[in-house]
């Protein structure tokens, strides 16, 4: 391999190199904060280097060697982040593990990665690992951050983080060249070593260890930091799981590449307060966090005085009309700008402040589809919320939305230096700078994930729209075809339906059928509220679900979805033709949903077979008996005659602009 990066007189190619560089160029700038004892405490890049160095030399004295794996388990604590860099500085490989994993899962990952040391947060993790120590033969020593409760533990193979650092400092004072040797070792790297192994969360089967090489990771982080104009003046709050690629990338990797300041919350419960105190400039959260924020705002507004409520409603209306246009720099009439300016002083500014979003320049969301209204709400307040699409295998970014080119229904064009193609079966495949080097200890899985010509298969089905933005529609294996040959992506349709507040759950059918049909679950809170406001009386969920007015409302929603679908050339053939509103709420207790609230399709197909037939045989209603479990565990049978209704299907027009592919 030819010399790259620093060794060839260029930029750093590993994170420890960046750490040393930042300690020089930003010596006095803040690198790390944590709120402890009620006060934010800060380490500068210079001080952070000293902490990392002491720990690294301590690890070396304990015998950690190049290529050995070291587990990191816990929540977002400065010392755990330092452990990453300390390990990397010795060319050992950090393996972060989800702190909430149960003992068996943890044993699997630690054993699979063959870790020698584990750096953990507290007694809870020590107990957990010690309880499965027999299954992790390679593990010799555990190092803990918080000593609480560990005083009486046997210490032969259990070490306090501070003691390890002390050992490192002792080694440095005993051997005058220890520090310069350590630094020389860091600069000698050409970035070809593995810099981390991130285990996937394992929603489908056993988790896999994604190996990332140093130079590739650094390149990816530099690219995206540049894409979002990040500098050493940026601040982030590290609150997402340490073991998740998003946290490792957005806080650690980008942080080192630009020299920004990372803050760790006081405890997982104080994240919202700490967010307000820090006021990060860069923020990431999955859609459900934004949903929770919106709900909490709305609930608090319910209790506000009438004047405040009126102001809130009025200026939210103004924001909806002009907010996004102003954010994107499009033309807005002067009167609109003035109204928005007043709204910003009265409502949006204070609201952003309460949420801790005052200083945000860039916010991202990803992970699942976000409702267009929810997305627009935050953007209209002047928060630059964007979407990205990524994977652990890509070291996060595959696509990202550019400032000013943001839409709720796409995930944007390919991120810098990323190539994307859509395979025959609709699957998204990519090549990227941060692309993984394979799964650790699993060449077969690696081969399964890579195409013969070296592209990574994401397992997601997607399409490009006319502007070249990627739209993720479903998991590739769930995408089917109707008998008409039209592409059918159940989740895409279901998500569109679920964005209506009145619809809690939707289940689409259509693979191998003539047309698409859906089951709907009403949202009892939203529809119940609506019924109350309109003086519609009902005695039970079942009765409410079967009301003609409710069917009317649902028809309206479905027609809206069909209009949306008809406007998309790829999807127009899969409009919803018939639907029914289920007489009971889908429930995990009845096995209809998983514990994470995902629909279990095959189970539903068995349980509601007659209803599915009714959707396709043209009948107007169907009688069904279903067993259900009450909250106290008793079982009962629920009987109902469920009506089946037709929706309006729009003709597929071919005058739509074709996707530029």
């Amino acid at each position: 391999m030819e010399a790259t990066g620093v060794t060839a007189g260029g930029k750093p190619v590993t994170f420890p190199q960046y750490m040393l560089l930042n300690a020089k160029r930003f010596a006095e700038r803040p690198a790390m904060r944590i709120k402890d004892y009620g006060i934010w405490q800060t380490w500068s890049w210079g001080e952070q280097r000293d902490e990392i160095r002491a720990f690294a030399l301590g690890l070396k004295a304990m015998g950690l060697a190049e290529g050995e794996r070291i587990a990191i388990v816990g929540s977002n604590r400065p010392r755990l982040y330092w452990a990453f860099c300390a390990a990397q500085s010795l060319k050992a490989i950090p393996v972060p593990v989800y702190a909430d994993s149960v003992a068996e899962e943890m044993a699997y990952v630690l054993d699979h990665a063959g870790v020698r040391f584990a750096v953990v947060q507290d007694q809870e993790q020590v107990d957990k690992i010690q309880s499965v120590a027999a299954d992790i033969p390679a593990l010799t020593d555990i190092i803990f951050d918080e000593p609480r409760g560990l005083r009486d533990y046997e210490r032969t193979h259990l070490h306090d983080f501070a003691d390890v650092q002390e050992k490192g400092r002792a080694a440095a004072s005993a051997n005058p060249s220890a520090i310069s040797d350590w630094e020389a070792g860091i600069w000698a790297s050409d970035g070809s070593e593995i810099s981390a192994i991130l285990y996937t969360s394992g929603t489908t089967g056993r988790s896999k260890g994604v190996m990332l090489t140093a130079a590739a990771s650094v390149k990816a982080a530099e690219d995206t930091a540049k894409f979002d104009n990040m500098t050493e003046h940026d601040e982030v709050l590290a609150y997402l799981p340490l073991a998740w690629v998003g946290d490792h990338y957005l806080n650690y990797a980008q942080g080192y590449a630009v020299g920004l300041c990372m803050s760790c919350p006081e405890s997982p419960e104080t994240v919202a307060q700490n967010l307000r105190e820090i006021g990060p400039t860069f923020y990431f959260a999955p859609p459900r966090v934004f949903e929770g924020l919106l709900t909490s705002v709305m609930i608090r507004m319910e209790d506000a005085s009438r004047l405040k409520k009126w102001l809130f409603d009025h200026y939210l209306g103004v924001a909806k009309r002009y907010g996004e246009k102003i954010l994107e720099g499009r033309s807005v009439p002067l009167s609109g700008r003035i109204s928005y300016w007043i709204g910003d002083k009265l409502i949006y500014g204070p609201l952003r402040n309460v949420l801790g979003f005052t200083r945000i320049r860039t916010a991202y969301t990803a992970g699942e589809a976000i409702g267009p209204d929810l997305f627009s709400f935050f953007r209209s307040l002047g928060i630059n919320l964007k979407q990205l699409y990524g994977q652990t295998e890509a070291f996060l970014y595959v696509t990202a939305q550019k400032d000013g080119e943001v839409r709720p229904d796409t995930v944007g064009p390919a991120a810098p230096d990323v190539e994307i193609r859509i395979a025959e079966n609709g699957e998204v495949q990519f090549k990227s700078p941060g692309m993984f080097a394979g799964y650790y200890g699993d060449e077969e899985k690696t081969r399964e994930t890579l195409t013969p010509d070296g592209w990574v298969m994401t397992g997601d089905a997607g399409i490009f729209d006319a502007q070249g933005h990627l739209k993720i529609i479903d998991r590739a294996k769930d995408v089917g075809k109707l008998t008409t040959g039209a592409l059918y992506a159940p989740k895409y349709i279901e998500n569109k339906l679920k964005f209506f507040p009145n619809i809690k759950e939707a289940v689409a059918f259509g693979d191998g059928r003539d047309f698409v049909a859906v089951f709907l679950n009403i949202d009892l809170t939203a529809v119940g509220n609506w019924a109350e406001r309109n003086n519609i009386s009902y005695g039970s969920y079942q009765e409410l679900a079967g009301l003609p007015q409710v069917y009317e409302m649902m028809t309206g929603h479905i027609n809206q979805v069909n209009r949306d679908l008809a406007a998309e050339p790829m999807m127009a053939g899969a409009q919803i033709k018939r639907f029914l509103v289920l007489h009971k709420e889908l429930d995990a207790d009845d096995g209809e949903l998983t514990r994470t609230q995902k629909v279990r399709r095959s189970f539903l197909a068995d349980r509601y077979g007659p209803l599915i037939e009714a959707l396709y045989d043209g009948s107007a209603e169907k009688y069904i008996e279903t067993e259900m479990t009450f909250e106290d565990g008793r079982k009962g049978v629920i009987r109902a005659t469920v009506k089946v209704a037709d929706a309006e299907v729009l003709p597929v027009s071919n005058t739509m602009p074709e996707a530029a592919e």
Partner: protein, 274 residues
């Protein structure tokens, strides 16, 4: 960068006693209200460093016993010896000053004040600067305030209640209020901590948390603990020795296993005709 805050240790005062020495001794104590005998002729002791439980059915005289220990009630007969010093009459504030802290069966916090201020109030006895210094809030008074705040933050950290630091306690759920009350008692860095039903009205998870805190207080701060509790499972799990009261009389005393098999205790709990 600003100076990093150093970890401070909370611990009971060194009173010259070694673990296992008798810290508090109750000798033939009787207490009556008018004609009602709440406690009759009870004797037991509390050893330095142990967790001592007082159990018994409703009305057995448990809370009265605690009130006697911390000087709120004055027994008509008997002697209480605390750290070798016998006393018959003592005011609650004297008990507090001598290192005895307590929590109450019904949470007795300042509802309108924040968690932080409530716990800070537990430090009152340890403040040495007088009221005027404190009002001025300069120089030595300020330094003292900071020193106490550090101890309070240590307690907040210990009890994992950072997220409610600034919340008025009246707004908190019951389980958390109990935790704050424990925090206020700990702020005194007591030698002897009296807990009156620390787990009443808690769900299983809250009970587990509270048990953990009690054990940690005992082992890390070296605080001797006497507690009243109804949940037998909890009592048997965490206490070193148990004293059992029934109708104001002592019917059992010893390690949990002995007490569990004591026929009188079984009768009292299962109920026999008197």
């Amino acid at each position: 960068m600003n100076a990093r805050i150093q970890h401070v240790e909370l611990h009971a005062e060194d009173d010259g006693l070694n673990p296992g020495d008798v810290m508090l001794k109750v000798d033939n104590v009787s207490l009556s209200f008018g004609g009602v005998k709440a406690i009759s002729d009870i004797s037991f002791d509390i050893l330095k460093g142990e967790i001592r439980a007082i159990i018994g059915p409703n009305g057995a005289g448990k809370t009265s016993m605690l009130n006697v220990i911390n000087g709120f009630y004055h027994p008509q007969e008997g002697v209480i010896t605390f750290r070798g010093q016998a006393r018959s009459r003592m005011q609650p504030y004297e008990a507090a000053a001598s290192g005895i802290a307590r929590t109450f069966q019904n949470v007795a916090l300042f509802k309108g004040m924040s968690t932080l201020d409530n716990i800070m109030s537990g430090r009152t006895l340890k403040m040495h600067k007088n009221f005027f210094w404190q009002v001025l809030n300069v120089g030595p008074a300020r330094d003292e305030e900071i020193e106490h705040r550090l101890k309070v933050e240590e307690i907040i950290d210990f009890l994992e209640i950072q997220h409610i630091r600034k919340t008025p306690v009246g707004k908190l759920p019951y389980g958390l209020q109990k935790r704050v009350e424990l925090g206020r008692a700990l702020a005194m860095e007591p030698d002897l901590l009296l807990l009156d039903e620390p787990m009443a009205g808690m769900n299983l998870e809250e009970k587990e948390d509270m048990s953990r805190f009690i054990l940690d207080v005992n082992s890390q701060m070296g605080t001797t603990i006497a507690l009243i509790e109804h949940d037998m499972g909890v009592v048997m799990d965490i206490s070193d020795r148990v004293v059992v009261l029934d109708y104001g009389r002592k019917i059992g005393d010893g390690p949990p296993d002995d007490v569990k098999n004591n026929q009188d205790v079984i009768d009292a709990y299962l109920g026999v005709s008197h």
